[in-house]
């Protein structure tokens, strides 16, 4: 499945916040069908790059294209509709909805069951089988009836992944999907990402380098908003500049 055809490419992305350059001239291309890691020390600009790629922020300069379309001028909802769907670093669930409802919300739009204000709530039950399947895939079946706010942090992350997968997107952007998870859950989510990546592309931010080494086909290293290195994990980890950038943040 690994191809050399870029599904997402960004050229010269720059983001300035009132004079502070958070992302500087980033050129990045993610090949279709790969798992691509974006790593770097805290504050490197990884989340900002995600915000730019999904149009939650408008780049000061630069261009983004997804599946051959220029998406630089699109609104974030339109980017998601094209099949480029993100998760958030700070767990984003609908806290007072149940786990099942969280996933159903994601399913409603693709199933064209989101605008019917005249239908009873029970009409959403046609989504249940698929929703419970997704919930099962992230091992949350036992909690399907709980409200999301009752879940532990790690389980909220798992729910967020299930919700993202509900859209069946061509490409997933995952911002530290395993942060706050225990050992066992990390293994499970890594397996899940490997599985779902069989027929889609994943770009993920991850601090756990073992996971990156194990899971990702390609790694891009960002430091102080700039790309430091790009290539296979072996290439990147041998790069002296990368080692230097990680000095002092080794306690990660």
């Amino acid at each position: 499945m690994v191809s050399t055809q870029p599904i997402l490419s960004a050229t010269g992305l720059t983001m300035e916040f009132r004079g502070f350059v958070a992302v500087k001239d980033v050129t990045l291309s993610v090949n279709e069908g790969t798992i691509h890691a974006l790593i770097g020390p805290n504050g490197a600009g990884k989340t900002t790059v995600f915000n730019l790629l999904t149009k939650f922020l408008t780049p000061t300069r630069g261009q983004i294209s997804f599946r051959g379309n220029d998406i630089t001028g699109l609104k974030p909802a339109e980017v998601a509709r094209l099949g480029l769907v993100r998760s958030f670093q700070i767990s984003a669930v609908f806290p007072h909805l149940t786990v099942l409802d969280n996933v159903r919300v994601a399913l409603q739009r693709p199933k064209n069951l989101a605008t019917q204000f005249w239908l009873p709530f029970s009409s959403l039950s046609v989504l249940d089988d698929r929703a419970l399947e997704l919930i099962d895939a992230v091992n949350l079946s036992a909690y399907a009836h709980l409200t999301a706010s009752e879940l532990s942090y790690g389980r909220k992350r798992a729910l967020e992944i299930a919700t993202t997968l509900a859209l069946d997107p061509a490409m997933l952007l995952l911002d530290e999907p395993m942060a706050g998870m225990g050992h066992e859950d990390i293994g499970r989510i890594a397996d899940l990402i490997r599985r779902v990546a069989k027929n889609r592309t994943v770009l993920m931010v991850e601090h756990n380098l073992n996971v990156v080494a194990d899971l990702c086909d390609r790694v891009t290293v960002l430091a102080r908003g700039e790309i430091l290195s790009d290539g296979s994990y072996a290439t990147v980890s041998a790069d002296p500049r990368v080692r230097e950038a990680y000095m002092g943040t080794e306690h990660e």
Partner: protein, 325 residues
Amino acid sequence: MAVGTQYLAEQQPKLSTTSLVLGAIAIAALIAAPFFFYPVFLMSILCFALFACAFNLLIGYVGLLSFGHAAFFGGAAYYTAHAVKVWGLEPLTGILFGAAGAAAMGLIIGFIAIRRQGIYFAMITLALSQMFAFICLQVPFTHGEDGIQGVPRGHLLGIIDLNQPLSMYYVTLAIFLFGVFAVWRIVNSPFGNILKAIRENERRAVSLGYRVDRYKLGAFVMSAALAGLAGGTKAIVFQFATLTDVQWQMSGEVILMTLLGGIGTMIGPIVGAGLVIALQNYLASSQFPVTVLIGIIFVICVLLFRRGIVGEILELMKRKPKGNV
């Protein structure tokens, strides 16, 4: 999938037996009410209760504070009054015409305001509704300070004589029940589920591909239409439409009613409207200045029970131990 089925049995907003029984009692009480109270007094409560329910659809379930809902309520009153008095429309058609006019205004005002957040949204809606109130003062069809007086109640569908107080009352009750049901249905629908999601985490909803502004605008128009339904009905009941109903004080009053009863609860706005109207009615014959009392109630609400009367009661009932798994 046992868990899922169990969930469905528990959580779906199917009406529980208790709420069905309570609802039936409430409706029976409303049917019997005109034999104990003045029908005009009751109809006034019903109109304002529906207005508050419509307003609550927006603040309680979308989280948008409109400070301009008087434009929809009072605007519809003018449209209905004009349509019935000048064009000779049948009363129900006239009321629906008023509601449609309010919906159209909701589309315009909502389109301008919906991208703003929080207090800016409130300010824009206030500004636009004041602009509308000014137009109402200037254009000839509203008859300026006099308003449209002497609107005939006429015959519903050409059959039922609405000059009979009881007939008028039951028609108003039917419209009220329809409106409350509409709010309930909208909130507990696939669309309502998305509204809830947007209110809970707007960024997440956007990232799932929802064009949230359109959902908010949709809810805004529905809220305006239902506020218009209330205003149009009021014009038929009281047989006039005046500037009072389009001015900002009216927008403030509906906020108070909803706040007092309980924002985001289904019956809170009804309770709030009932209390405020009853108070105004009671104090009308005394020397006590109503606005002062309303102000005091407002302050007490904000300081002591923010959830409102119904909201606080519901909260007491459902309090349960918290903990994460």
